[in-house]
Every structure is written in C-alpha cells, then in structure tokens.
C-alpha cells in the first residue's frame, strides 16, 4: 500500500476519473498499475504529475531494448572494483620504485563492497518511503524482462549484490508503481495478472478541449474549436499514424503566437499540418483529398 488518498489530477494534468480510480485502487492494493493506451493519452504524465502535486520523490526507469533487471534494481560494478583493487598493487609497486605520484580510488574503498553497488531506480525508490516509481514503456524491453521484474516487485525486498545489503520497505510505505506500455509487444500473461490494468481511451472532443486549456490557457476559443474539428476529422480518416494529443498541442503552440483570426484561417487552410501528419503516405492521402474535395474540407466548421 502506497500513499492511498484519492488523487484526481492537478492544475496541469487532467486525470480521467476512471484512471484516477484505477490508480487509487492499485495503490490501495499495493499492486503496480499498468497503463496502456494510444501514444499521447498521458500515460507517462500521470505519475510525474502525481509526484509533483503531492511532493513525492519520483524515480523513473525508461525501458529500452537492452534493459535488464540489474539496471533496474542494482548491479555490482566489477570493473571499478577490479580497477581499485589493482590500483593498490600498482601503488605499492610505485612506492617500491620510489615514485611519489599515486593513483587514487576516489573515496571508494575496496574493503567496503557497498561502495561498488550501483543502485538502480527500484532500489532507490524502495529505500524511500512513499515514493513514486515509473517504469516507462515496458513493451520496449526484451521478452524476459517483465517476468524478472515481476519477481522483483512481488517481494518488497531487495538484496544488493555482493555487499548483501538489504533494502526492505513496509507495505504501508511502499512506492506507488506505474508501468506504461504502448502495446508494441504483448506482455506475458503472468505479468499482467499481477498488475491492475487500465486502458486509457483516446479523449473525446470535450475532454481534449480541457486538456488544451490546461496546456495553453490563453488560447482563443474559436481557434481551439476549429483546430479540434480538423484534428478529429483527421483521426477519423483511418490514417496510418493518427495524430495524437502531443501533436495537436504542438500545432496549437505554433498557432498560439498568431492572431486568432489569422490562426483560424491558417487552420482551415491546413497550414502547418506537418505537425499532425507523420508519414509520407498519410500526407499524400491528405493532399489527394484536399485536391479532390476542397469544399468538404473547407466546410468543416
């Protein structure tokens, strides 16, 4: 169980009630929350804003194709250890030869093994009460990673390699764990079984308007409305890569600097649409449609 009060979003982050409830549930049960959804639905932002809003420590572990559990928990730096212990011999030899200059090991001491343990985000998060641990984009990981992770997370205890130091945390103080995935790879069933699952729906027009409001508060209403029309129209076309929240926010950031009237005109003229369309094939398709049916596109609003 992590910090368990119900959190419903902050001034900068609009949290869908269903997501807020799932998050609350996960923290109450002391289980990781696995969030899936389209890119740009605010998966990663949830723990970041939660930690910020509540003043909690946040540890982030971005998963990559080479992620392994040692990086995540802790590993023993054999190279440094070997170097430092070799340095002692080297220094002794130098002394024999009458050389005064010595090599230093920093403040690490080969006698104390704990100096060579490199702690990963998990070990750090588990050593602090009520922290937040974000494991980002787990679907990028090699296949065995989620299962290793599962084992690590199901015990509230880590034993540091070589030094034998034990990091343990009580159920009340354990970190809130959030795992995000873009569904690029199917996660093992056993892994999903141990998580509370939440799938974020793509926000509808109304919610998107609120999200935009949170990010670009001063934006002209008319501009937002027109932009949203275009945006959702594009999403309905079934493009190869449908534009996401991030893209419309960027687009509007650019429009925000322009006078509203002109911006509306620009949006209607689909100017700067490159911010929304990400592949060549989609672009060609859009161009073809504008060419063929300019009127339909112009009459959107």
């Amino acid at each position: 169980m992590a910090e368990t009060t119900h959190w419903t979003g902050s001034a900068r982050y609009l949290c869908d009630p269903a997501l807020a409830q799932a998050f609350h549930m996960a923290r109450s049960l002391g289980m990781p929350l696995l969030i899936e959804g389209e890119p740009g639905t605010g998966k990663t932002d949830l723990p970041i804003h939660y930690a910020k809003d509540r003043g909690l420590d946040l540890e982030v572990y971005p998963v990559g194709s080479k992620s392994n559990i040692e990086q995540f928990v802790a590993r023993f730096d054999h190279v440094k250890y070997l170097r430092d212990s070799q340095i002692e011999i080297l220094n002794a030899q130098r002394e024999e030869k009458g050389l005064s200059s010595k090599l230093t090991t920093g403040d690490r001491n080969p006698e104390s093994l704990a100096d060579y343990v490199v702690k990963g985000p998990a070990a750090i998060a588990y050593s602090k009460p009520h922290s937040v641990l974000l494991i980002d984009e787990i679907d990028k990981a090699p296949r065995e990673f989620p299962n290793d992770l599962l084992y690590a997370l199901s015990h509230r205890k880590f034993i540091m390699p070589e030094s034998g130091e034990v990091i343990e945390i009580s159920e009340e103080e354990m970190p809130a764990i959030v795992i995000t995935s873009n569904r690029e790879q199917e996660l093992p069933t056993a892994f999903k079984g141990r998580c509370i699952y939440h799938y974020i729906d793509f926000p509808d027009k109304e919610v998107m308007g609120k999200i935009i409001e949170k990010h670009h508060p001063g934006l002209d209403e008319q501009v937002v409305r027109v932009a949203l029309d275009v945006f959702y129209h594009l999403r309905r076309l079934g493009l190869e890569r449908a534009p996401t929240t991030r893209e419309i926010l960027n687009w509007l950031k650019y429009m925000g600097d322009i006078a509203p009237k002109e911006a509306v005109k620009k949006i209607e003229g689909l100017e700067g649409i490159g911010a929304l369309i990400k592949t060549q094939a989609d672009m060609e398709r859009i161009n073809r449609m504008i060419g063929a049916d300019n009127a339909a596109f112009g009459s959107l609003n």
């Binding site: 899936e36 194709s65 296949r143």
Partner: protein, 441 residues
C-alpha cells in the same frame, strides 16, 4: 461466496481464477468496495488485461451480477429493457417517482445506479469527511450542524450498509442469487431501495442531491456497441481489422535478448596488454536477428483479396521489428524463378534465392490451388530445395481449412511445406512451429 465467479467469467474467455477472488477480498478489506459500481471497477482492474477484454467483461458482469444477459449484437439498452431485473427495479422505482419516465431515462437512471461508485458518493458529500469515519452511527446521533442536515440524512441512508462487512455484503448477494435461481425471478434485490445497494435511489433523490455515476454506465453502454472492446475473431481470415492481432502473433518470431556477458578472451587479451591488469570486458550479446523472406502468390483472382492484407501485415512487421525483410512474388507455384515486383516483370533465379543465409525464415503465402499439371517435377524439386535450405519455412493458406482435403494440390503442397491457415491463430501456430525447429537445430 462468489465461488462460481471465476467459472462464469472464464466462460466469456476472460482470465479469472482463485487469485481474482483473493484480490477481490483484499480490495474489500482495504475498503475499496462499497457499491455494485465499485465491484465493476475493481473487477475490471483485476480481470481486464487488454482493451479487447472490456467488452466480454462488461457482458459477464451484467450476466453474473445483474442477471442481464446480453445477446451478441444486442445493445445494452435493449438487453436491460428486456431483463427481469430491470422490470423489478422499474416497478419499485416508478412507485416512488412522481412523474413518468421514458424508457431511455429509465435505463439511464438504472445504469447510473448500477455504476454508482463510492468515489461518486464521496464527490457528492465531499468535504464532509463522513464517509471515511469508522462509525456512521456517530454522525447519525450527533448532528452538530443543522444546516447540513439534509445532506447528512442522505448520507445516513447511504451509509446504512457501509459498515456491513463486505464479506457479509457479498454473502447476501450470493444468497439473493441462489434465491433467484430457485424461484425464477422471485425478485431482484440487487439494486433499488429494497436491495442491498441503498445508494442513489430514494433518499438521495428526494433530498435533491443528484447522485449520478461518473459515466460508468455511459462507458458500459459504449462498450457494447464498439468492436474495439471485443476480441477479434482469431480464426477469421486475415483482413484489415485483425491484421494487428496477426501482427501480435507474428511477434513471437523474434527471440531477441540483449544481455551483457563477460567476454573472457577479450579480457585476457587486453589484460595481458596492460601487463597483467585485468579489467573485465563486457560484450553485449544479441541473439537472433529477424530475417524474413516472404513469397506471395499474387497471380490469379483467387489470391487477389488477400494480397493487400498480407502486404499490409508484413509492411507493419517491417516497420516494427524486421531487420531484414524481402518480398518476392510467384504465380500459383514456384518454378525456377521468383519475381521481385508485383507485376512479375523482374525476377531472380531460385539459385539466387537459395543463396540467402539459412537463418532466414520463409513465409509462403498462397492458396496452393492450381491445376495438377502446374505442380510439375521442376516446381516440386524447387519447393523441396527451399524447404530443405530454410528449415524455418511455412506456407500460409487463405483457403478455409475445410476445403483443404478436397484440393489435390493443397494435399501435395502440405507434404512439401508445413501449411497453416492465414488467420491470426494460424499464423501463431506457424510461428510456434518455426520456433520449435530453431531449438532442434
């Protein structure tokens, strides 16, 4: 107590087991479950593991907890209107209501009540902090503030059951279930004033506090009509809708792992160079890169509907994981050449194809239906050569499985190259067969 839940939910293709019940119990102990809507939410978090589960889950929930069976293709509103549970609820509700309601309004109210969660209630009484107090009677007996009395009344009614142990709550639910089973619609006490879920109805409404769900009902309704929330038929032939499911199956072909390993020879070599100062050298080990050759039969009308889906599948595959993907075309069967373009104007010889590294995986896609004379000895010889060289070679056939025994050339082709149907499930089996080969040799 709820012991039949896993079985019933499993019947809908969901993963529910003993652990589901244990988690549910834990959630109760943590005070997460106070209403029927809470059960929906909590179970959803526990059972649903991908978007496609949401549909079946909602169906299972309505069937199990509310006795509202939803037939395939039926909308939620329709199912509710036809259900016994709703009829019972309606009688009670209309008894107390002071005006008439349309069906739509009734269903909406019903959904609001079903999906009312303790979070919603908390919102209604936010700031009162009463909800979290251990003993609701305390509030009852000692109303300090007269102004807020109406609200507290509501709460009083709401809180009626909140200190009933949840075990008891569920036990009661189960009992009602049993009764209903034996007495055939002897009355639903699930929701509404007479039932175990006192929230929302009566008291709340009378006092003018609107207790509406935060859209749980809306969501449930949406789910029923949306095919995104139902699993794709994994035995349907490959089409644009299930191409992603197929893609998920095909992902199994990569067994890539990236672990760091101590490179002993390199460590010794560089250690000797340093005069005996051995520093471990790590090397990252990358197991297998995915190399794929796709051979597509794009001749003739029989294959035309599938070519696009297949290309789509492998194109997506390429952008996501394939390091090396080559596509060739043939007509009906492979003779001494395969073609590099769709119109079959440029070609390479089979010898050249066979010069590829043997670690390539070969997917042959075609209906393998042709006149028997077309499958001549040259073709058979070359197919054998391909299957011999590339151990991981499969044939994916869009022809429905039941026609296979009646086509002579399919029978022959099956002997030469392992054949699987061109469906997401078939592709998965093909990939599994391929991987089994890789462990053998």
């Amino acid at each position: 107590m709820l012991s039949s839940l896993p079985e019933k939910f499993r019947a809908h293709g969901l993963k529910a087991d003993l652990r589901t019940l244990l988690l549910l119990r834990k959630a109760m102990q943590k005070g997460l479950i106070k209403t029927l809507g809470d059960i929906y939410n909590v179970l959803k978090g526990i059972i649903v593991k991908e978007p496609a589960d949401i549909g079946p889950f909602t169906k299972a929930y309505y069937e199990y907890f509310l006795h509202v069976p939803i037939a395939p293709g039926q909308t939620l509103q329709d199912a509710i209107l036809r259900s016994e549970t709703f009829a019972q609820w309606k009688t009670q509700f209309l008894d107390e209501a002071d005006r008439d309601f349309t069906d739509e309004e009734l269903v909406n109210t019903f959904l609001d009540q079903v999906h009312l969660t303790s979070y919603d209630i908390k919102e209604v009484i936010s700031g009162k902090e009463i909800w979290d107090k251990d003993n609701p009677d305390q509030v009852d007996s000692d109303p300090e503030d007269n102004d807020s009395e109406p609200t507290e009344r509501v709460l009083d009614k709401m809180a009626d059951y909140s200190d009933l142990s949840l075990e008891e709550l569920l036990e009661r639910m189960e009992k009602v279930r049993q009764q209903q089973k034996t007495q055939h619609g002897g009355g639903s006490h699930w929701i509404g004033t007479g039932g175990i879920s006192p929230y929302g109805h009566g008291g709340a409404a009378k006092n003018g506090v609107r207790v509406g769900g935060q859209g749980g009902g809306k969501m449930a309704r949406k789910v029923m009509g949306d095919k995104n929330y139902f699993p794709i038929d994994r035995d349907a032939l490959l089409n644009d809708n299930n191409v992603d499911a197929a893609l998920a199956s095909i992902k199994g072909v990569i067994e890539e792992s990236a672990t760091e390993k101590l490179d002993v020879p390199q460590t010794i070599k560089s250690g000797l160079k340093r005069g005996g100062l051995f520093i471990p050298e790590m090397s990252s080990e990358k197991n297998e890169e995915l190399k794929v050759i796709v051979l597509i039969d794009n001749g003739g009308y029989s294959m035309a509907p599938y070519v696009r889906s297949v290309q789509n599948l492998f194109r997506k595959m390429k952008t996501r994981f394939a390091h090396d993907l080559e596509v060739y075309y043939f007509h009906n069967t492979v003779y001494d050449r395969v073609f590099t373009d769709e119109r079959r104007t440029k070609s390479i010889s089979i010898e050249k194809l066979l010069m590829h590294n043997k670690s390539y995986r070969v997917f042959m896609i075609g209906d393998a239906a042709m006149a028997p004379y077309e499958l001549n000895s040259l073709s058979i010889h070359n197919l054998k050569a391909i299957a011999h060289k590339f151990k991981k070679c499969v044939w994916l056939n869009p022809e429905p499985l039941r026609y296979w025994p009646h086509t002579y050339t399919i029978q022959v082709m099956k002997q030469l190259i392992p054949m699987f149907p061109l469906t997401p499930a078939g592709i998965e089996r093909a990939v599994r067969a391929m991987n089994a080969k890789s462990t053998e040799g």
